[in-house]
Symmetry: D2
């Protein structure tokens, strides 16, 4: 928290001009800046380098779409209920971008931030972190994936893209690899660095702190949800989801059913 008095640096306007931060929207941004560059500039408060843009694009493309996840299911049934309120379907979906499925990204980022700051050095700190998590039977955020084995193919690709940028220093990547090495030793087997772990490291490399990282996941996932709603308009699945689930979860209460058969 800060003790600034309330103020904003994000936007102002006059009768004839609009400004986003210190730039003139119409004359300096529209038609000149891409959406990705604008996003970095607006959220981070400075213009991205080419390397930062490349990494941000790659992360946004990676996180956008993961199939029929809880997020998509919530959005599609809400669109069935309220086709007049597209924004409600997207919002219901985005409420799923939280601690369980994307939150691992920021939890992993918080650890990486700690390792890079550690006085004892990254490697020693990584070992300590892994041993402690193992002792407490706590999974380490950023590791393991239920589907992609032995390795999540998105992670090495994100590393490759990040390393190809000259301005990436690589200390957060180093920290993540130190964690990975310690994980494999402690567990006696290989655990993949998953896409959210890799995304956490490369986002830190381009200057995005853990505390706002979820915001970028939300932006990316919003695109996936809009695509699902567009598909829902053309080939609806909402009623199928409803009926399928209604038949899948049996009623096991003890009501004294008088007429007809119990559902389920």
């Amino acid at each position: 928290m800060s003790n600034h008095s309330p103020e904003t640096k994000l936007a102002t306007h006059t009768l004839t001009s609009l400004y986003v931060r210190e730039m003139d929207l119409v004359n300096d941004m529209m038609g000149k800046m891409t959406f990705t560059d604008t996003m970095f500039y607006h959220i981070m408060g400075k213009h991205p380098t080419a390397g930062q843009t490349a990494v941000l694009d790659a992360v946004l493309v990676t996180l956008m779409e993961h199939g029929f996840t809880p997020s998509v299911i919530a959005a599609r049934v809400t669109y069935l209920s309220a086709p007049e309120a597209l924004q409600a379907a997207v919002s219901a979906g985005l409420l799923n971008v939280a601690s369980q499925f994307v939150g691992t990204m920021e939890d992993c980022a918080a650890i990486l931030e700690r390792l890079v700051m550690a006085k004892e050095g990254i490697e020693a700190a990584a070992k300590r972190e892994v041993i402690q998590a193992h002792a407490e039977k706590r999974p380490l955020p950023g590791f393991g994936h239920h589907l992609h084995k032995p390795d999540d193919p998105r992670s090495p690709k994100l590393f490759e893209i990040a390393r190809a940028q000259t301005e990436i220093e690589g200390e957060y990547l180093e920290a993540l690899l130190a964690l990975s090495s310690a994980m494999d030793k402690v567990h006696g087997k290989h655990l993949t660095i998953n896409a959210t772990g890799a995304a956490a490291a490369v986002m830190l490399e381009i200057g995005v702190p853990a505390r706002i990282m979820r915001g970028f996941a939300i932006i990316s996932r919003a695109v996936g949800l809009v695509a699902h709603i567009m598909e829902e308009q053309e080939c609806p699945t909402g009623r199928t989801i409803w009926k399928t689930i209604d038949q899948t979860i049996p009623y096991t209460g003890t009501a004294n059913i008088k007429h007809g058969r119990k559902r389920g």
Copy 2:
């Protein structure tokens, strides 16, 4: 509605690969496609031309940030209430992207779709549309702005960007200008084409139908909301909003206040 059986063309995966529509995410998208191109491809189901990308970028940049709007106010107070749930703040904000402030875009788009299809020709149809709205004392979506006078500077810029693309045919722009010309005649004065009106026309030009247009506004506005939350983390305004409004709206009920002064 359709009678397709439920299916999806949006994503699938194997143990070692992931696919977004018909593309290989890791080998063909990450590091090769920008976020804007990926967004168009994923939502629209085909790759954008360079001109389509340029127009989409311009629209996304235009709609991203409009200062302390209802959307931002909802997001900032919700972040004050639930700093642990960034997604809830964004969702509360996005629930404001609806009929009143962005919905005019899709309402205007629906009219433009109608004009372009009209047998009587665009100009005659535009006149009829304007006269009818005027007779019913109905504002025409896409026209007028409470701040930017005499003209919203974003609109001519969007037209300019769209016209610079060789693949833009211009029939929706023509329809919007026909409406504008009819509006000025019927009202006996100039009414600006506002940014949502112009955005509607250029989005139609790149193939985005009215029925999904709000989705792009939501994506764009999500970026603005994340920027506001990032600023809120550094320079909070939530409590100021709360206290200011609490003092602004007086209690005018008839409670028999026994001790102390009434609030307000």
Copy 3:
């Protein structure tokens, strides 16, 4: 819309007292008023009669729980994604209380309001309404149910409860029955008055206008959603919903799958 200057009659407080509308919360409400009476008083601005309370209780009890609906599915998957944010699960669920599944209540109420005001009399107006809907192949809100045949058992019960209250005048019930009679004639068969249709009529009888009716459905459904989340804490279904739906909706795109089997 009104041209009142902004004000509120809902609450105020001093250092030692709190007021809800014109009542002292601590001395006159807590321990003395039930939640249902308080709800009516706070929303409607006057104390309910015993009959109004009885009808409101009956409607709230009726609408609370309908099994694994879209609303419940959205809430349960969101709870899986964000167990730290119970309010997000409820909100995702409530975003489904909209035009399709409860909205019929307020749409039906709007028709009943019209019929009761009609100069031609309720019966004539009802016939005209039904004939017009039939000609336009428009379903009439409040009629028909996919499960409860030939009659939705909740509807006669709501009528019975309403009629047992001496202060219920019955004109909205009369209007609904006039619609029903006209429906059966025009369709040549019996169509049930469903629970939302019956609820609309009895809510109008106790003074709740169509424009706020959805609010009471939301309150009632919030209880159902909290019950589902309590059950989800004890016997989770979220992952089952996810996996079941992921397997139910096949991928039918044309990706050139290189390794392994397609999902679905």
Copy 4:
């Protein structure tokens, strides 16, 4: 988490009957049970005693309305943006019932649950809890209020109502008073037990565990939000909120404003 296979005990139906848990909705609930009794039964899985109902009613009445809070501000501006989607306004408001303003209720409840289970006895455990929080400069949830001094008048009223019920055992009340006594000693001054602290204790007394407590706050607050929307329909404040805040938060960026005056 449990290893039950997915199932539900909440609802089922046949062609002619509906069941909520083990009860027949039409024959045994509608017209016979109040909304409060139904709520307790449905969420908690058993019928309340008269004392449990009295306490639950009192808590729901207490938490319903707190004036122009962040929750209400979010709901009112969202209603301005989307008057066609009343559920979105309520949802945006409910997303504010989280860690900061009602969450203290469940945090306090979790401490009380711990104290009542403590082997060392309630009093000793309470002292240890307070001393530890004080050493870590952590506020204790349930204590202190920015407006109601020296005492929040709702708390003694909730205690009085709870104690008047013969079936209330009082161990959680005892635990809260032990905390209060330790707080006053450690701080060398009196700190009020606030309404959420008192509500936590009496809710535990009637059997509601900490983990679902927020759900009851959400239900209660939903009523307050619907009342605010009803008032908003009659006397709108949304635009006043927007304009007031827009003028309150100055732009302090360094844009080179070319024409006209900066906003703010």
